[in-house]
Every structure is written in C-alpha cells, then in structure tokens.
Amino acid sequence: MNTEILGIVLMFVVTVILAIPLGRYIGKLYNGDKTKLDFIFNPIDNLFFKLSGIKADKEMNWKQHLVALLSINMVWFLFSMLILMNMSWLPLNPDGNPSMSADTAFNTSISFISNTNLQHYSGESGVSYLGQLVLMLFQFISAAAGMAVCAVVFNAMKERTTEKLGNFYNYFVKSFTRVLLPLSIVVAIILLFNGTPMTFKGKDQFISVQGDTVNVSRGPAAAMIAIKQLGTNGGGFFGANSAHPLENPNYFTNAVEDVSIILIPIAMIFALGYMLKRKKLAWIIFGVMTVGFLLLLIPTVYFEMKGSSNIAAMHIAQPLGSMEGKEVRFGPAASAYWAITTTVTSNGSVNSMHDSLTPLGGMSAMLGMMVNSFYGGVGVGFLNFYIFIIIAVFISGLMVGRTPEFLGKKIEAKEMKIATIIALLHPFLILSFTALSSHLFAHDPKTYAAWLNNPGYHGFGEMLYEYTSSSANNGSGFEGLGDGVPFWNITCGIVMLIGRFLPIIGPVAIAGILAKKKYVPESAGTLKTDTTTFGIMVFAVIAIIAALSFFPALALGPISEFFSK
C-alpha cells in the first residue's frame, strides 16, 4: 500500500484503539464508578470543591445545569475581554505586543469560550504570553464544559424517570482534571521532545546565511498545542497553526496531533455505551459517524493526491499531488486527513491551508462542518448527533406505526419543536449571514472589495466557509478572506455565540424533558435504535438535512469551481 495512505489508516486505527478504553474510563468517571486513578485525583478534586464551596454530590435538574453553564461562561467572557484589551501593559509581554481592539477582543473571547478558536489575529504579534495563557485556560474550560453537558445528556438517557441529572461542577471538574489535563501533559511532553518551544522568553534571534537578522517568535507553545488538539479547540499558538514548523515539527508530531483531534470525540461515544450499558448503540452511532467521516475523507484524499486539474491542464506533472498550501513534511494524504478530521470535529486547527484545497476537497471540509456531528466537538458533537437521532426516531417511529420513542421515552410535540429549531439553526445562521455578506459585496463592491482576494466562486466559498466554521464552532478558515475587520469580527462573534449555546441548550432541554417522562420498557413492537437499519435512517436524516439545505450554496461555490475549469 502507498505509505501515505498507510500512514492515515494507521492514525485512524490507533485513534480507535485508544478511544475504546478511554471511553470506558470517561464513562466510569461520569457514572461515579471507582477508577484506578482515584487515589491521585480525588484529593485534587476535593481541594477544588472545598475552595469553591461546591457540593459535588448535589444533583441538579436540566435547567440548573444550563444556568450553571451559562453563568460561568458569562464570567469567563468578561474576564477574557478584560485581559485581551489590557495585555499591552500587563506582565508576560516580552515582545511588547499591543492590546486588542474591542471588536477583535469580542470576537476572540467568544471564539475561545465557545470552543471555536476562530482567530482573527496572529499569535506571534496579536497577543502577549499572558493573553496566550488565558486563551489556553479557555481551551481547557470550553472543552470541559462541552464534556460536562454531554455527561448531563448521557445521564438523562438512562432507563428511569428522574429530574436529577448529576452535578454540573462535578462533571466539569472531572473532565478537566481527570481527562483533559493528564492527556494534555502527555501530548505536550511528546511535542516538547520533538522541538516545540515551551518558554517565557521573548523572540529568539539568529543571523541567516545571507547575513540578515531573523527574529523567531516562541513562547509557552507545547502546552497550548496539546489542549488545542485534544479539546477540539484548534486555536494555534502561531498564526500558521500546525503548519508552523515549531507548532508541528515532523510527521510523528503530526500523527500525535491528529490522533489527539478525534480521540476524545470518539471516546465520548464509547463512554455513552458504557454509561447506558448499550454497547451496541454506541457502535451503531460510531458506525454512522465513521461512514460519514469516510465519505468525506476518501474523496478529499483522492483529489488532493491527484493534484490540481488546472495545473494538470498546463501539462505540469504533479508527482506529489496538490501541494499548494501544504507542507512537504506531511504530504497531501496526511494533510487531507487532517483537513477532514479537523472539520468534522469542530477542531479547526490546520496543517495545510484549506483555502488551497482542491474544490471538492474544500467542499468536503465544509460539509464536515455543516453536518458537525460526524464525531463532532468534544461533548457537543454528540449533542448535535442527538438532535438528528430524535428526528430520525420520530420519522421512523411513525413509519412502523407507533408513537416514536427513544430509549423508552416517548417523543412528542415539545421535543420535536426543540429538535426542529436546533436542526434549523445551523443552516439558518450559515446561509443568512453568507447571504448578508454576499449582498453587501454584490451591491457595493468598491467598499467591500478588500474582503475577497479571489472574487468569483472561490470567494463565495471563502465567505460560506467562514460562517460555516463560526456556526460549527470550528475555527478554521479559508484564509483568503480579509476577516480582521469589524464586520467579520462582530458577525462571526454573533454566529459563534448562537451556534455554540443554542445547540447545547436544545439537546439538554430535550434530554431533561425526556428523563422526566415515564419510562416505557421495550416490547417487540418497539423500534430498536441499536440496529443497522436505524443507523441508515439516522444517516439519511443527516445527509438529507445537510445536503438539502446547503446544496444550492455549495453549487454556487465549490461545485461551480470544480466544473468550471
């Protein structure tokens, strides 16, 4: 087999092999079962709980969970704004970087608390080390928050009737200290040994062969890169993200970083199987997600390895495939694999420039974000998938002549209302804001010309990608877009904010309402949800909702680009 292909197959296989035991471990944490590591972590967690006066065994209902989530997010948002707008005079700023403007700080703060990590600034010159550390903290916090709400939904899916769904802070702290922190330390150390810097010293200097003085930015990078990958954050330390040689030095670190992208999202599915004692359901969900993932991955790898058709038309051989915007040390297959893993999971870190992907490769990346639940972000990916399950359960329940029920709970008008709104939200945000920017550009091209370096189909794709990335809380970009201006900062900020919190509130509300309902034991007439047939149904619902709502937009962007040579 081609070694490039072998490389990505191995990356995927290793991820799944690691995710299964990790999922079991996460499931044990949320169930409150004993684990072998309790003797280390129990004292740490108890210290936090004692300091903050939190009673970790006080159970909350779904509304209390949401209040806890939203109120601490509000505090973090204000704290982040404060630091980012004042970091020029605050400590840990050896390079003397300036404070952020209000709109960039607004965008960046929302971006990081919403787990998006869309960066309308460049790490080397846009933030101080203090700023980087604060942003790194948010990478932990937003990931742990996503996992905690997911734990609430898992808990609600158990076979019983209850309002009590565990304690939010308990889930949150455990996700932080027992999953994200230890894994990040491991990954950071691996990066450290491969040459990623971890220092508080300012820029380094050397004199190049030509005799020029070259300044090289550095900083506490290894720590941040580890959590940016593991927490599906994606906000890089350096502007070029994991394409930067210090952020991602070699093929091995690339593999470690890429495994880290989808490790926890996949592990969460197996955690579900463990918590509900429904391993088969977990495998079906994993199967549906994996099929979707492969359907995006395979064409991307194919087109990137085949090379650009425009270059081929000029009779230039492309033995390495499409290498525009890609790093030679990774090659097209590993870059394509990264591009898809990072977009399906709402991570958004990049090791190549997505703007330079072949048209259908770029479309696959966009589709990954439009669906946003083939694995999805840590915790929140499953919540998106949950909405599709509810809709699929409803339609297929009717199809077999029974009031739809999922895991013993009847799905009725109220849940359908929420599920429909949430399913609508993502296309609504993406399409309406892309429409707004298209409208502005089309009617006043002079004022807005600076936005697009490549007007035409690709420029449309850049705008579509930006809002898709914001709404999916992904954070990657088609970087041809001039997005560091108030219009993009503010609109993307709004989209990220809505795109983060409503899709959390909706599923938690549905799960909470369902948990309160009477539990109906399974009978022969019950539609089983852990079957391949149901898996196909969920897949069809996802494909149809994503394909149907985005098809015209994609036709005008990447599809037109592909067909118009």
Binding site: M399, G401, R402, T434, S438, T533, F563
Partner: protein
Amino acid sequence: MKKSSNKLFEPALVKEAFKQSFIKLDPRIMFRNPVMFTVEIGTAVMLAVCIWILLGDKTQGSFVYNLIVFFVLFITLLFANFAEAIAEARGKAQADSLRKTREETPAKKIVNNKIEIVNSSLLKKGDLFFCETGDMIPMDGEIIEGLATIDESAITGESAPVIRESGGDKSSVTGGTKVLSDKITVRVTTEPGESFLDKMIALVEGASRQKTPNEIALTILLAGFTLVFVIVCVTLKPFADYANTPITIAAFISLFVCLIPTTIGGLLSAIGIAGMDRALRANVITKSGKAVETAGDLDVLLLDKTGTITIGNRKATNFWQANNVDENIFIEACVLSSLADETPEGKSIIELGEKLDVKGEMKQNISRLSSHISQYIQFTAETRSSGINMDDLRIRKGAFDSIKNLVIKAGNIFPDETTERVKLISSNGGTPLVVSQNENVLGVIELQDIIKPNIHERFERLRKMGVKTVMVTGDNPLTAKFIAEKAGVDDFIAEAKPEDKMNYIKKEQQGGKLVAMMGDGTNDAPALAQADVGVAMNSGTQAAKEAGNMVDLDNDPTKLIEIVEIGKQLLMTRGTLTTFSIANDVAKYFAIVPALFIASIPGLQSLNVMKLHTPESAILSAVIFNAIIIPLLIPLALRGVAYKPIGASALLRRNLLIYGLGGVIVPFIGIKLIDLLVSLWF
C-alpha cells in the same frame, strides 16, 4: 352497512369533494396547514407576476411560461384540498348511511302512564317510550322494563336477532333497530343531535376535528422543513446577485414549492380522516381521532375469554365411563340427566349423545324412558349438582367434590380411574362433570372450551406487533392457564372480578404501558374509563358506552385487534408519506438547481444528470411532478399503508426501501418523463 361500497372515488362524492376543493382555498381555512398555506402565498405571487408581465415587464420570461407555473401551483392547491375533501366526503357518506337508519319514525312516548304517538325527533333525554313486536326503536336508549328480541341488522349487518333486557349488561337499544318480539319500555339516553354517531360525524366534517398529538409533532417537523426552504430560497437571491445570475420569480417560487414537503402536507389531514373512516367501516364509532392513534400504540389488550378466545360456552366433548359400566347405559344416563338442563352445557351433552348415537337406538330408549321421569332436580349453588328421579333411579350429575360427597356418604367407593380422569380433564383445561346413579359413579363427562379457529395466529400477529394479550375469565386458574396456553395469550386473569380488570390496567399503566379493553357492563365502566382505549359494545349499558372512547356497533370482542391495526396503519401512512415527500427533494434539486444557474455558469450543466431539455422545461417538469404526485397518492392515503407484523426493524427496513429509496428514485424517472413531454413546447 358491511355491504357499503368500497370504491375510493364514488362519482357523487367526487363531485362534492371537487366543490369543497375550491371552498377550502379560503386562506382562513388554509392557514391550518402551514405547508399548503405557503404554497397558496406562492400561487398568489405568481398571479401578481403574470399581471405584471401583462403590464409590460420584460425581466420575468414569457407570459405563457409564468401562467403555466401559476396554473400548476393552483392545481397543486386544488389537489391537496381535494385529498382532504374526498376523505371527508367518504367519512360523511359512511356516517350518513348509518344515520339514515334512524330516520324519523313515530314513537310511542309514555306520558303520565299513557301512550302518545309523537315524532321520534321530539324525544328528549330522559323521556320514556314503549316498543312492541314490529316497532322500530325511535332513539338510542336503555331498557328499563321488559325483554325483547331485536333485529340489529340495520346497524351491524348481522341477521341473527339478539336479546336485550332491562337490568343486565345488555340493556342498550339503538335507534333504527327493530323489535321482533315482546315489549320493552325504554328511557332515552341522549339529546337529539348528540348521539355518538352525531359526534363522530362532527369529527369527520372537521368542525370539531382536533389534531392528534402525533399529528401536531409531525406538523411542527413539516413546518421546520418548510422554514429551512424559506431560508434556502430567500438567501439564494443574494447568492445569485453575487454570482451575477438573474433568477426569475417563477424559478424561485417553483424551487420553493418543490422543496417544501407538499406531498405529505397536502395529504396529512386526509390520512387522519381516513383513519377514522376506516374505523367506521369496521363498524367502530370513535369519539376522537386521538383514540384511533392511541390504538396503534397499545401494549396490552384485555380480552374476555368467552366470545373472543372461545366460541360461546363450554361444550361436552367426551363421555368417560367408569370401569364395569356399559358405555351405552352411561351415555343414556348423561342424556337423561340433561333433558331438563337449559344451560348451554346441558344442551351440548344432549347434542354429543345424539351424535354418538349412530344407529338411533338410544333415541328410542330415551323417549321411552323420559315418560318415566318423576322429578327434575334443578341445579342449586348448594348441591352443585342437578339430575332426575325416575322410578327407583336417582341420576345426578355435578361437580367432582359434590358427587364424591354424595357417593361416600352413601358408603360407596369412588372409583380410582374416575378420580384420575377428573384430574386429567382439569389439567387439560376442561371441566369434569361426574355422573352418578343411585349414589354409584357411572363416569365423567368432559366439557371443553372450544377455542376459536385461527385465534392462535391472530395472537401471534399481535405478539409480533409488540402487543401483549391478557385473557380475562371467571374460570379457575388451572383451566384458565390451559386455555391461555392453548390459545396463545401471554397472560390471564382467572376468577376475575370487575375490580381485577381495573387493578390490572392500573398496574400495567404504572409500568408505562398503554392498555385497551373491551367491556359492556356497568361494572366495566370504571375500567373502560381507566383504559387508554376503552371499547364499549353497542349492546352494553349506557354507562359503559359513556366511559369508553370507542363504541363497537358489532359487539364483536375480536374487534380490538382490528382497531390496533387501523391505528398502526394511520401512523405508518403518515410516516411513509413524510419520508417519500422529503426523499423526493433530491431529484427536484437536481432538476431545478442546474436550471437556475446554467445560463451564467455553463459548467453546472454537469449537475443536470437527468439531461432535462431547457431550464424552463426542467422547472415546469419539477412543479408538474410535484403537483400530480398528490392525486396519485390519494388512494394510498385513504386506504392506508398495509401493516405487516414482521417486527419493527424489518418493517422499518421495508418501508425505508419502498418509500425512502423509492422516494429518491421515482421523481428522477417521473420528472424525466414529464420533461420529454414538456420539451415539445419549451
């Protein structure tokens, strides 16, 4: 009733439905159906565009093309209205034919103990009337005095007359039925215009039709899909501006109408009405659409043994004489002892005796001996035996222990082989009757319940639907267990008292189950009310009928099974047509999207996989397909998707294949065919 036509489109009904299709265009009525309401708005916009072109606009394409788009959308609306109207008309026709049975008849109203002839329509609730042989019963009511045989064939289609009497559980009479013999005094139980039938007609006609919970949830989902496509179509305008691609209003509206789920949106209410109509065709009056829907979800059915699982009553199936007793003498004694026995069991003993008497010898013996009978001993609860005295012979037949007492008291021995036989019969679900002559055991008669043929398969079918069946019987647990096993029910309640049913229902409901039961007596009323689906027999008491949410005109206990299937069909039809409707969108996209952009982006020709002729023909073909699929599916909506008890997953796979995959493929073919035709002009 039963013979009523099953044709879907009676000319008279079609005419009425056609008229209604136009009346229903009223936006105030349309508003109830969000999907079709948006189509109506689109149609109005197209009309405005046509007028605009006549006034001189040049940007929207030819007048004829726009007019055709308008026309097709208008037809789409009419088709959807027609679907609802024909369902209503059919339901109404069905109800009318029931109502006809109660045309105005003279009634013998009792006023101050005197009979006054008044018109039946003047009878009020609480009035008393009198009926005798040959009279038509003028109103629904409850017999307060007397007993009569009544011909109910006008309602049930059953020609065998039934007996209705005061006091018992069979005290209800229905207007329009005829008294064949005897006299009864009846109290009117409903106000004119408020009978169950009147309520049902109102439900079908839509005046008081409320959406059922599932229908509401589905409407929300469909509204959601409609909204997605509002967003898709509205945002397409700036996208097209960006790409410098002018799109005509006709193209926008066509794209929108094609994408929103008009197929299911147009057929949704027709499906609901047709469900109630199917119930009515099965001679079940439902008090709400919800009850039919709930029936599809039932988990537990409580069924009375007698009449549902077994045919009528127990029957004698065998004579087992004791050792040293001549078979013929034993059978003669059995028959003699039963001559005066009016119970169905007694009659069956005589029947069996006559059947075994091939040569006719015994008949002669009996007729000779019967003249010697000096005394008939009636059955009493105390002796638990009956029999005859004849010359110096005392023949008794009765329960095992009562005869055993008799025998042992007289100092005789109760034969072992008979004891064995009695045990064997009991454990086989039968009832043993021991026969003695002068306190000596002659043998034992075996009585068996006759389980209805095919009932086992029906229960199997229910089990595959996930419905648990529970047999309710007054029998002892041993007998009940045997019959339960033999008939294939999942559980039984033996020696059942009315409160046992109630407790069982409550217990199941606490476990989250939906329970249905059928009942007729006043003491069934609380349980009927407690059950999620309570089906009262039309012959039952008024209290029972008030308590249940369905009334079965045929008084057929197996009707519950049919009701479950009707409910399931209703939900399935909705689900499959929704899937079909949404799956259609794939092909419609491939028809319309290339058509929108081909002019300015020639590369998108590659998306025109159906190779449709021109953008205009592609758009027209898509909207025409979208319109004609509605009437094509009306028969399916009215008849319902066939329910196959093959397990939920298999059923899903089947329906997903037919309506999901079919829904993707069919429009590709349909649109291409229409395009071949349309391309002759466009």
